[in-house]
Symmetry: C2
């Protein structure tokens, strides 16, 4: 079936139901970063393969909204489809609601698939589209997408307590405590697969780069109810789950089960994290809803605070990963010296090979980014086997990759000089490093939010009129998603305070379009530091153990205490990593970690 | 009438109306920082004179909620009154609603004076008090408070355009433009006296320390309607106002007039800034309300962005004020050297006397704080003629004062060493200074909020486990309120971005209970700096011109660029102030502004 036929069959489906327009987002009922092929409806209909975009199909027209990262790609992929590209945040681009209202000024019925919209988005859409009506309709694609991939469910494994540090039964008790419901009967809805995985101490491979089973959970006063594919749970796994008081239900029975709770059972959920379909199922006559009492979500908040076992696992993961990185960096150094040709994709594969030396390695935590020169200035650049560049000279090589280990998840970016650099390149490298160090060194009182610290990483760039448009730090899960909420360090307000045990990235950057990109990323864990008469204070522990290049630092930009920090950091990398290296590697690392005198 | 009689007569009034409890806040219908004596009902009933507190009177009981600043004072002033002191934010203290609900578990009618509660607070209260009902009742105190001071209205003056830089007619046009209402009929309600004063280019003396007439304004598509005391407007003032298209109405007719707008006129107001009384007046059948479209309020936002004439006025105000400060600092220095006794209150008066040398001085912008030693660690300490301490030795003297001039408003804090200091004192002085300098030096892109920059001022203190619990910076009005919104630099989120022309204080501090307090405050103006390929960037211009003491700086804490900033600052103070001093003063200033070599 080609695009036109696909669009036509959708229009026919809508016409039968009297729907004038349908909005098709990029989403699934779990609101995760990656969706299974089954849910890639927008991609199938439009041909646009980017990770973010919304397609709208009306009786006579179709348009796709996406952000600046994807303008070039979307224009190419939509070419000839008759679908109009709508460049978000550009002057003159109508809003989705505005565009639909213009075509149907006197009103019409607009359809959405209630399984792909959060209830909060639905309410907003209703407001924006008025006087048009918004209707949740059943998924049309099961019928019209002939070759639609089925939902995939692969075997679920239990994460042993030696890695999780806490039983599922204990997590259930702590969640109940945090909810402060007392004797009040409640039902707490968990739609995010990583929250379910944390809660039940299970892992899977249903989702790209995220070690998760596709599943839901419902927490009540009595038990955790897990909704997962029964075939994917072997007997041992089922035995563990039952031993923890977890009741197991088929994945498909989730929505139906939501309608069976008595109306006097308080529904605890966040409108932004439940689908319209599931909200409607819960919403029987007389039902009372309440928001998740903790900003960012109670389960998400507990998950974000790593216990000592998880913290120790993270240290081990960054040590293991650091060994692989050091081997890679030496390999690059040797190759360049010996004039051997290198290419981006192969370097990513090489690092994976080094990671695989650890038997508990469980795959990459996201698609590796290895980018030389101008490519590093492209957001979301990723070399593939067939589109990979050779590593040239006189520019930066940027590498951003991470791995999953049974004991933790990593995410590291290093930018290294190849050949000669200009003074501007050195200055910008140093400004990025200065910001990374300033955030690493920060002390802050209990209650501080990530948004309060963000400027420490950006400030040095600001003084030269430079900035980056992404966040400074995202949360990182423990052998879970490499991008984890609710904690963050961003310019944007986020009410979640940084708490001891939270793990976050620290990745200031600068992108010079058409020239080069620089990003330096360490991962930090919030730790208790000291209690004084005025407050409790926290500091970060740096987890990452990969040498930071010092030969391209410009003079006069780092303050003395920053140079002390940097030399101390590299010395620590040598101290921790070198015992695991052979003599030649060790010698190389010694050189890479030499104190710099600026 | 004593307190008991006062409480009894209130209870009688309530009983007549079947009301079980009444909540009496500290407020007036304009939501300003200071209220006229007429509105000091809580003070009259309870005897508690602090600036913040809420009294609740039930049929049999009474209690007063206040914050930690006032625990000692409130306990003293409430002693013997039968009114229970409720210490806010302390463990075990019930909420106001909780305390009332406990007394009336089966429901009751709770009264409030609708002129003293914002509509937003009323909605919250209703929610918190349910199932009890909340009723807006007419002010009982006109009847029962026999010696109640009447509302005072003093002559209103026009602020000439040579100081305001913009006609009232032009401001009206700009407000309309910012509201983007097109042809839609609207009514925009202005309850804050400083917004009215800015909008109409008028000033007054009705309110302590704030140069404001007590007044309201209502903006419609056609005109600005000013509600002010007609006796207070002389002919010339009325002529100016009319020439600007402003229609004049009696102050007392405001609420009544609100009810006369047709229901199809869109009501634009913020629920947090309109009283229940006035909201109810607007809320006729079929009326449609909308929030103020700009965060912080449209008029407040325009007022906060100073035009070039106001900016020039601010520079002149800080120059004029700097001359007075330099004379004071020299006087203190001379007195200490010559062994003359000094006291706190007299120093405040001395500074006022120096300020009065400028004929356009219009009074203090807030109650002067002059505090020696441990007193400086008390929040809101203020010496009076009868309770003033002598200036001792071997400690800090903290002075925080500001003045109004026709051309601008000032606010400056300096902490100076008297005698010998300990190393800890010097270190803490230097940490505060380091934070003040870091914020002064900041560069930041368009769209940055004050909350994003706050950590620059706090960070150095955090590294030693120290912090202060107030904001870092408040907005400052142009010959208006010294505490002006909506701009701020605080830990707490505030969605208002910092825009060129906004004026803010920069006042990090440290308070060592029972020992000393340190605060160093400059005032900054946001200025355009440069536009680069990625964004527009801003920097601060420092307005304050008072030397910063360098003899008590600890070694090894300030970075080189901070020392360069400090020496540059003091050099600039000398350059700008010295032409206005006599030879002896000039010599003193030269010494005070010498570069420090740390």
């Amino acid at each position: 079936m080609n695009r036109t036929e696909a669009l036509d069959s959708l229009r026919e489906f809508l016409k039968e139901r009297g729907i004038s327009a349908m909005i098709i987002p990029t989403n699934d009922p779990h609101f995760g970063e990656y969706t299974q092929a089954h849910y890639k409806v927008r991609e199938w209909l439009s041909g646009f393969t980017g990770s973010a975009g919304t397609l709208v199909v009306t009786e006579t027209d179709a348009a796709l909204w996406t952000d600046s990262r994807y303008f070039v790609q979307a224009a190419r992929e939509l070419s000839g489809s008759g679908i109009c590209l709508m460049k978000m945040k550009m002057e003159g681009t109508p809003s989705i609601a505005g565009w639909i209202r213009e075509q149907y000024p006197s009103g019409a019925r607009v359809g959405i698939d209630g399984a792909l919209f959060s209830y909060a988005d639905y309410l907003q859409l209703k407001k924006d589209l008025a006087p048009l009506t918004v209707e949740s309709i059943p998924d049309p694609f099961d019928r019209i997408w002939k070759e639609r991939p089925p939902l995939a469910f692969r075997p679920v494994t239990v994460l042993p307590q030696e890695y999780s540090g806490e039983s599922a039964a204990s997590k259930f008790e702590r969640v109940k405590q945090a909810l402060c419901m007392g004797d009040r009967r409640f039902v707490y809805i968990v739609t995010a697969c990583d929250e379910v995985a944390w809660l039940c101490n299970i892992r899977g491979t249903d989702i790209e780069y995220n070690p998760l089973p596709q599943s839901y959970a419902v927490i009540t006063n009595q038990a955790v109810h897990l909704f997962a594919d029964l075939q994917a749970l072997d007997e041992e796994t089922q035995r563990y789950l039952r031993s923890q008081g977890i009741e197991i239900h088929p994945y498909d029975s989730f929505t139906e089960r939501l309608g069976e709770f008595p109306s006097d059972t308080l529904r605890v959920c966040s409108a932004a994290r439940i689908t319209v379909r599931d909200y409607n199922a819960l919403n029987i006559q007389g039902a009372v809803f309440t928001d998740d009492p903790l900003a960012g979500g109670t389960v998400a908040r507990l998950k974000a605070i790593k216990n000592e076992c998880e913290a120790e696992g993270f240290r081990k993961a960054f040590l293991t990963d650091g060994i692989a990185w050091c081997k890679l960096l030496k390999y690059i150094d040797d190759s360049l010296r010996e004039g051997r040709e290198l290419d981006e994709y192969a370097l990513g594969e090489k690092l994976i090979a080094f990671r695989k030396e650890c038997p508990l390695y469980r795959g990459e935590s996201f698609e590796p980014i290895v980018a030389f020169g101008p490519a590093a200035a492209l957001p979301h650049y990723s070399a593939t086997e067939t589109s990979s560049q050779k590593i040239g000279t006189d520019n930066f090589l940027l590498m951003d990759t991470g791995g999953h280990y049974l004991f933790g998840t990593t995410d590291t970016t290093r930018t290294i000089p190849v050949g000669k650099l200009t003074e501007e390149q050195k200055i910008n490298y140093t400004l990025v490093l200065k910001g990374m160090i300033a955030l690493s060194m920060a002390a802050f009182p209990k209650g501080t939010r990530g948004a309060s610290l963000d400027v420490l990483a950006r400030g040095p760039l600001y003084t030269r009129g430079l900035m980056y448009f992404h966040g400074t730090g995202h949360g990182i899960g423990h052998y879970l998603c490499v991008h984890e909420g609710p904690q963050s360090i961003r310019m944007e307000e986020n009410p979640v305070p940084l708490e001891p045990g939270m793990v976050l990235s620290n990745e200031p950057a600068v992108y010079m379009e058409g020239k080069y990109g620089i990003r330096t990323e360490n991962v930090l864990m919030v730790r208790e530091w000291k209690t004084t008469p005025v407050n409790e204070f926290y500091r970060f522990e740096t987890l990452t153990l990969v040498p930071i290049a010092t030969e391209c630092i410009a003079k006069g930009i780092l303050a003395e205490e920053e140079i002390v920090w940097l030399n101390g950091y590299n010395a620590q990398v040598y101290e921790k990593i070198s015992p695991f290296l052979d003599p030649e590697e060790k010698q190389w690392l010694g050189k890479a970690c030499r104190p710099c005198l600026i």
